[in-house]
């Protein structure tokens, strides 16, 4: 497709499958996670949370709690300095209103957790309970109770006249949608459908945990489980009115995050308690708190209309997206708008996206944020179009797929993409042509893409006298990036992986890095690593030139050795030269700082076979194949791990997972019994197909991998259910009860 293709290069480390750097510590129990941190004199904190979804806080009386033996201090919003960002301040400790069940009201530090829990229960809070709104389509009505009395709707047109729960409205228009639909009406088909998806949780097994201590001269150290130490540092500095250099954030191992550990929920309260008591304080969330008071993924209401001609050409597409932001604005509606029609070449289109506040926790990112709901919607409409036209669903997608330069409805053009390549690989895969016999069985497909965030990363590579190197970045390792980054350094430096020691630094000891999110770390931090390694080579080449008394530009580095011209005497291995640094000017530390502004893209096509039990509505996945363009798999084993793990999370969204709220905004399933994650019995084997269309802006052609695979499963499974039992599902999770209702059985 594209002319810009890297020739396949021979690599000595990239593309191999070494054991993960963090494996030994993780199988022996030595790895320290957020809740494992302990300090001398540690106090335990507990947060008091609102029992109401919407209530004015009339008064808070902490005196009884403070008088309880073993209690060292209580904090409320009164203990926070005034800050510019009132939303962020209210989110960590509510001041005048509680906006969801679980909203933080106060926090207690005590000598034991049991005392802290007891103390939190005797803090007296007087509430004026207000009507709550929990449904996104109810919240947009004029009659709905307002969460933020003065908030108006922002859009390109400016601000709305009157306050509203709609925080913002975005709109993309391409071409003339009316004309496109008229074309389809004349000579083709138009399909219009509505879909609903539930709020869902990232479901990491490690709860949030933070431990804070202050030095007597006002420096704060926080040990926490987070995707981004520097963003947590910024959050703490802003809300506590500190200089950035007064705050040190030390990352622990992270026991799963998936987008849910970018934001701080308890860090500020922990720091306030530590300051007030003069002792280190640790807060660890309970599982119920994780469900109630962190940042789940928003649910949505989505309306999609698409038209195509009889010869299989999409002429127009239109979508309205209503996402529940939770208590404060900020659902990633823009990302949903990018993804919904992203894999296709659509001449005329319009997308309207709305960010709507409701009395539920403020939502956050979850692996390809906001993408699974739009894929669930659009890929079913596309499936229906293909069926009505009489085309094979993959053939229809191939005919309309995005190519080099395709302008999306959002206005940006695709470059260097592998959309066609993954569709072609899926169509040619034996799974797609395998017979699927038996009643109530069906095969479905779905297509998607996710853009890779770039952003800021830094890296230092220090050369040790024995020829090994120490590699430090500020990018928190969520699932193996110490290994994938070390592999890239080893590749550039001609070293073995064992000669590169990777670590993640705290915010005092390493340069800035944006949070490990958006499938960016292996790619963007990888670019910083490659630059730091190149810097090492440049500096060491100068040392070789000094020792050989030749001009620096005559020194070459190839396959792990420094040479100058054809002279066989002028040859140093990396280790030989490393041993001579102390006599040629001292230490060599390579530095790589990047701000990657380009967005790469990783496309994926999924194929699934299901069987639906017509009596129970139970869906069994018989076979699953995930095809993805990963650019270049730095560590193919880790890439497969991301793909399989992502698919199984997507299966969870499709079949099991969703917050259930009552009308008053009480969460009915805040446990791992009632909020069902896929178990080993539910998860099918997943076959992975790695397609490599190199991404030209990364030194080895890598694309971000982690997010794409969670997106297609709900859509692919819905399409398979349709073929199995003839009903179109319009809601996830597709529980047995919902399937039986659609089938008219109940």
């Amino acid at each position: 497709m594209s002319a810009k293709r890297h020739a396949t290069q021979p690599f000595h480390v990239v593309g191999t499958r070494p054991p993960r750097y963090d494996g030994a510590d993780k199988v022996t129990g030595r790895a320290l996670y957020g809740p494992d941190i302990s300090l001398p004199g540690l106090l335990h904190g507990k947060v008091l949370r609102s029992p109401h979804a919407h209530a004015r806080i009339l008064s808070i009386d902490t005196s009884r709690a403070e008088a309880l033996p073993g209690v060292y201090g209580v904090v409320t919003a009164q203990d926070l300095p005034e800050t510019e960002d009132q939303t962020a301040r209210d989110h960590v400790l509510a001041s005048d209103k509680a906006l969801y069940v679980g909203h933080s009201i106060a926090a207690v530090a005590a000598s034991t957790l049991h005392i802290a829990e007891q103390a939190a229960q005797i803090i007296e809070v007087e509430y004026e309970v207000l009507p709550a709104v929990v449904d996104v389509m109810e919240a947009i009505k004029d009659s709905a109770p307002l969460l933020h009395e003065t908030m108006k709707t922002r859009s390109l047109a400016g601000e709305s006249q009157t306050p509203s729960n709609i925080a913002s409205h975005l709109q993309h228009v391409k071409g003339d949608p009316a004309k496109g639909f008229a074309e389809a009406a004349d000579d083709g088909v138009i399909v219009e459908r509505e879909f609903r998806t539930a709020m869902a949780h990232q479901g990491y097994i490690e709860p949030h945990a933070a431990t804070a201590e202050w030095s007597t001269d006002g420096h704060l150290t926080v040990y926490t489980t987070t995707q981004g130490t520097f963003s947590i540092r910024g959050h703490l500095a802003e809300l506590l009115n500190l200089r950035l250099s007064q705050v040190r954030v030390v990352p622990t191992e992270v026991g799963g995050a998936f987008g849910g550990k970018n934001d701080g929920y308890i860090d500020v309260a922990t720091a306030l308690l530590a300051r007030k008591t003069g002792q280190p304080v640790k807060i660890v969330m309970t599982r119920a708190e994780v469900f109630l008071a962190t940042g789940p993924a928003p649910g949505a209401f989505i309306r999609v209309k698409m038209g195509a001609t009889h010869d299989g050409r999409i002429t127009a597409a239109q979508a309205e997206l209503y996402y529940e932001a939770g208590a404060y604005p900020g659902a990633f509606v823009g990302a949903a708008a990018n993804v919904i029609f992203g894999p296709y070449d659509i001449p005329h289109g319009q997308i309207d996206g709305y960010d709507v506040v409701v009395n539920k926790p403020k939502t956050a990112t979850y692996r390809a944020p906001c993408a699974p709901p739009v894929c669930f919607a659009a890929e079913q409409v596309i499936d229906e179009l293909a069926e009505k036209i009489g085309l094979d669903p993959l053939e229809f997608r191939i005919r309309n797929c995005a190519k080099e330069g395709t302008r999306q409805v959002n206005g940006s053009a695709h470059t260097d993409i592998g959309c066609y390549e993954v569709l072609k690989a899926a169509r040619g895969h034996p799974h797609y042509s395998a017979p699927l016999e038996g009643p109530h069985r069906g095969r479905g497909v779905a297509q998607t893409y996710w853009g890779n965030w770039g952003a800021q990363s830094s890296c230092t590579v220090s050369v040790n006298a024995d020829g090994t190197v120490s590699l430090i970045t500020g990018s928190v390792d969520l699932s193996g990036t110490r290994t994938s980054l070390a592999m890239q350094a080893a590749e550039v430096l001609g070293l073995t992986l064992e000669q590169v020691k990777p670590s993640v630094g705290d915010t005092d000891s390493v340069g800035y890095a944006d949070t490990s999110a958006g499938s960016r770390t292996t790619v963007a931090t990888g670019i910083a690593v490659a630059r730091a390694a190149q810097d090492v080579i440049a500096q060491m080449s100068a040392r070789a030139a000094l020792l050989w008394d030749v001009p620096a530009d005559t020194v070459a580095f190839h396959q792990g050795a420094f040479t100058a011209g054809q002279d066989a005497d002028k040859r140093f291995s990396f280790a030989e030269l490393a041993a001579r640094l102390s006599e040629t000017g001292g230490p060599v530390t390579g530095v790589g700082n990047v701000d990657v502004r380009e967005w790469g893209a990783s496309f994926g096509t999924h194929i699934v076979d299901v069987e639906v039990d017509p009596e129970t509505g139970q869906v069994t996945i018989l076979r699953y194949t995930a095809v993805q363009d990963v650019g270049k798999a730095i560590h193919p084993g880790h890439v497969e791990g991301q793909m399989v793990g992502g698919v199984v999370q997507g299966i969870g969204l499709a079949l099991y997972e969703g917050y259930v709220y009552d009308q008053e905004g009480q969460l009915l399933n805040p446990t791992l019994l009632d909020y069902k994650l896929p178990t080993a019995l539910d998860a099918p084997p997943v076959e992975t197909v790695i397609v490599e269309v190199p991404y030209p802006k990364h030194p080895f052609g890598a694309r971000g991998v982690g997010e794409t695979p969670i997106v297609p499963p709900p859509a692919a499974i819905a399409n398979a259910i349709y073929r199995a039992v003839g009903v179109r599902m319009d809601q996830i999770p597709m529980t047995p009860a919902r399937i039986l209702k659609k089938m008219g059985v109940i």
């Binding site: 054991p19 129990g29 996670y33 084993g637 999370q649």
Partner: protein, 165 residues
């Protein structure tokens, strides 16, 4: 404040005595009193399996056992798997099959695997999946874990490995 009780137990092969309050779970005692933080808390209500330990060789959720209940009994945690010979074959298999990502559920899954292989040295895939259904893993999708359990079973069947492992 409630009075504390002295508990004597054998933990990872060593006789230990510790003081705990009667309401404290075994999980709390292991982590907060004995400093054995390898055992993890994911839910504290028996639904995630991250706190799995062996109690007299039987698989339990340590969040659902009281500390005082282990008086005179034997507890094995993840810290008790490796010995002077190095990593336990189950641990080796998990590293080799790359059967972990974040690693938070791993200690519980290793312990659950040991409980299974101690009584059933050659379980089928279906049996492994059923046995591990009480241990949630959010990262891997389980397939590599199933593979690692089978690989561990094969390693343990090697002559010389079956003794005291």
């Amino acid at each position: 404040m409630t009075s504390k009780t002295v508990v004597s137990a054998t933990i990872n092969g060593e006789r230990v005595e510790f003081l705990c309050e009667p309401h404290q779970s075994l999980l709390e005692c292991l982590r907060d009193i004995l400093g054995l933080t390898g055992t993890k808390e994911g839910c504290n209500d028996g639904n995630c399996g991250a706190c799995s330990v062996l109690l007299d060789g039987r698989l339990v959720n340590s969040c659902l056992v009281l500390g005082v209940e282990v008086e005179g009994r034997t507890v094995t945690t993840v810290e008790g798997l490796a010995d002077w010979r190095g990593l336990h074959p189950i641990q080796q298999a998990f590293i080799e099959e790359d059967a972990l990502q974040c690693g938070f559920c791993t200690p519980g899954i290793l312990i659950a695997t040991k409980a299974l292989l101690d009584r059933e040295p050659d379980p089928s895939e279906e049996r492994i999946r059923t046995w591990l259904a009480g241990n949630l893993c959010r990262c891997t999708g389980y397939e590599v874990i199933v593979r690692a359990v089978r690989s561990a079973a094969a390693r343990l069947a090697q002559p010389g490995e079956e003794v005291a492992r």
